[in-house]
Point group: C2
Chain length 488, copies 2
């Protein structure tokens, strides 16, 4: 903005150009109403007639139109644009991008409705009680309506904490409502717990492979990850962990005890007890991510490590994102002796979690239908995972290995020797299929030959997609010698 | 849990004691249904008959009751408890607590329905479009219903970013929807921006007095606050800031340009332009908290510093918490050249903001009623602030000074010489009135003689509360010499 008084002509052209930029950038879209002449004149400190001239200029250029008694609107395009020249593939090349960008790309694929999405750990939207939640919100009255649009400070909405404490009891954990802090999803809970127990530069031991959300979170906090070997069925190797603890100043351990992401492995109660004991003896906090705990295929919800915690050193984290409401971003933690610290960190970073989501979930959990919902979900996810596994076995070439999870909706597939998951990701994307390449599950490329598939949904499109993936792996194998020749 | 096989008697007593603890701690409340005998037996790995024995023991102790065909429930207390001995005042002594605890206390006062709440910057719940928002949520259909319960990754829900970019235009800021990141409220936005531009230990210049949310946020990130003198009407002193920048390695500046909290001061456009220029010349980012920007008492929404930003160095932050939906925790920032970093930090700390709140707000903003809502809000807040000011002038003793804000709903009151805000806070709390003592607005006790009052609501209770506050100040003055005598 020039400080000398510019000529009126200069002014209305500037104003018109400003609005044109907002139209081309998508801030104002065809059919949108533009600021009134009076608003424009006030906001730009120009006269009403200059504002009017700006709009008339835009009108003469065919960008806006006046509607009687109503003001100026962005014009709908009426002409048919000529065919555009062919453009190159919009998928940027993942070999050129960092792990961070690759993770972002995988996530953003979820917004493309034309893809078969096997790449991200999303529950099947048809299996979520969304309609019930929206109905509950619509029915809020009086005090609850007021609370739904008021600040709720940490530790969070009390009736929700009561419901979570009751569910925790079924997982073998005895908690008072005051032992819980409501968070914005499980990753927020893990992030807060890490901030409560670690300083930048500290070493954190994690299960490996692990989900990229955790890897990125550690990177965001400037923490160093120490990856501990993890058995595809039994979970983290306690002997490897003990060795690591004996030789490194490990400040905390973070792991998924029940149905690890991506392995789907489940620690036995004996191992959980031993793990808690081992860490307690060293006064090392355990941050337990239990987000898949409710997704067991058996009737029995597995115990959490927190159930064996006698020294208040286990920080138990989970959320409603996998079984009820991914769009609500409500999770929690029971941070043991770090309760006050976590409450304070939650307050100073965001003041608290949205009230409306907490009130709605507390109401939903208090209804009697939740047990039925969870039983149905578990049966369907067990069925779908089995179908996806069978289809992989039918379609993928010999040498392929896969996990046998007893809960959750993720399958970890080891491709035959020499196959690269990033190449497969790129080829699959071109054909409208997404998957999570193994690179995302470690800070090193040690899982280059693995992919993770989401098994939450089973239908004809998924069946075809997996058949096609199998064919792509076979094609990749056939292309290998040629590729090697070129490299020589 | 002992590893040897315990006797059945020991077992059912242990299980019964566990449930009793959960009843006394509030996890299970009178009337709540307890886990079924079968659930309890599975979860505790005990026989069905042992589980049944545990419940029978609790029943014999009068804690639970069996309902036919339904299971065990926590018993309603039927006896009238004898009168309890008188207890000491539940308000802990603020002189014994840290700034952090004092801030928490002030916030928690908001959950007590029996207090007249002048202590926290809360909009009047009756002036929020809550019913309309809930109705919008109830009416979501098809694709929007699905989106409301799906993950939305950073930068956030696009239709909401379009609406915010349009509102930004009215504040003189030209933004494309892609220039915005949706956050969980304004403090989350400021926190993310600070993490994007600073490292632990860095010095950040801030306006002073400033709101304790920011002070606590800086503390949480391990940043050092450099407090810059701020004029009660004109805002931050540019000469003092320039001096500070010349003598300190300041890494970023954070301030509220429009209607600072607690002062309510408004920077002129000339000062905003000069500030942006001064910082741009030094390549220092400005994090602009504009959460009260829409709350101007005039028709003209003031410009933001961001409007003068030519080097993409202003990170503009705001939210819907003050004018539309405090319970939704939705804010945003336009982080300029730090866009990618902020998106990434948002992703790695919490994956994103709740979808349902973003979808509902995008729908609300697209309706035509928003301008009317804001105009009404501004008129009412102008009126209420004037009434509170007049009442303070009538009730408080000579020597009291107060700000004259032209927007927002906060009043900053300087008490007469020698009056202490913490003493007043304590005396007022006993009488059911809360206020924010000046100690909360600086890392030093320099505002000991100030209080902040929220003026969002004006009614008979508020009128009486302010009259009473005035009387308490007079009483405090009268007590002063005596107090001094005792100290001598």
């Amino acid at each position: 903005m020039p400080s000398t008084t510019p000529s009126a002509e200069y002014l209305y052209e500037t104003v018109a150009n400003d609005i044109r930029t907002l139209i081309t950038s998508g801030t104002y879209r065809p059919g949108d109403r533009l600021p009134s002449v009076r608003q424009l004149s006030r906001q730009k400190r120009i006269s009403v007639s200059t504002a009017l001239q700006a709009y008339m200029l835009l009108e003469s250029r065919g960008l806006v139109e006046a509607r009687p008694q109503s003001g100026y609107y962005v014009r709908q395009r009426t002409f048919t644009p000529p065919p555009e020249p062919e453009i190159s593939s919009p998928a940027s090349d993942p070999t050129q991008v960092s792990l961070e960008e690759l993770a972002f790309m995988t996530l953003r694929d979820t917004e493309n409705p034309n893809l078969v999405k096997l790449g991200i750990a999303l529950p099947d939207p048809d299996l979520l009680p969304t309609k019930k939640l929206l109905r509950i919100i619509a029915g809020l009255k009086g005090g609850k309506e007021l609370q739904a649009n008021a600040y709720v400070f940490p530790p969070g909405y009390e009736p929700l904490r009561v419901q979570i404490a009751q569910r925790a009891h079924l997982a073998g954990i005895s908690l008072a409502p005051g032992d819980l802090v409501i968070t914005s999803g499980c990753l927020d809970a893990v992030d807060l717990c890490l901030r409560a127990v670690c300083q930048k530069g500290d070493i954190v031991a994690i299960d490996s492979p692990t989900h990229f959300g955790l890897l990125q979170c550690l990177e965001g906090l400037g923490l160093k990850a120490l990856e501990i070997p993890t058995h595809p069925r039994e979970g983290i190797s306690l002997s490897a962990l003990r060795f690591a603890l004996d030789h490194n100043p490990v400040r905390a351990v973070v792991l998924v005890s029940n149905f690890n992401n991506p392995l789907g492995c489940l620690m036995s109660d004996d191992n959980k007890r031993e793990l808690v004991k081992m860490l307690a003896a060293r006064e090392i906090p355990l941050i337990e991510d239990d987000v898949f705990g409710e997704m067991s295929f058996s009737d029995q919800r597995p115990t959490a490590c927190k159930a064996f915690d006698e020294k208040e050193l286990v920080l138990w984290c989970s959320s409603f994102s996998k079984d009820i409401a991914p769009g609500f971003r409500v999770g929690w933690c029971a941070p043991g002796r770090y309760q006050t610290k976590v409450e304070w960190l939650k307050f100073v970073s965001s003041e608290g979690t949205a009230a409306i989501t907490q009130v709605a979930l507390a109401e939903l959990l208090a209804t009697s239908g939740m047990d039925y919902h969870l039983r149905r979900l578990r049966r369907l996810y067990a069925f779908n995972l089995e179908q996806v596994s069978l289809q992989v076995m039918r379609s993928f070439p010999e040498g392929t290995r896969l996990t046998r999870p007893t809960g959750g909706f993720l399958l970890w597939v080891q491709l035959p020797e020499g196959c690269d998951s990033l190449q497969l990701y790129k080829r699959a994307l071109v054909e409208g299929i997404t998957l999570a390449p193994g690179y995302l599950f470690s800070a090193t490329p040690r899982y280059a030959g693995f992919i993770r598939l989401c098994t939450a949904t089973w239908n004809h499109a998924v069946e075809q997609a997996i058949t096609r993936l199998g064919a792509l792996v076979v094609e990749g194998q056939a292309a290998q010698p040629a590729g090697r020749r070129r490299a020589e």
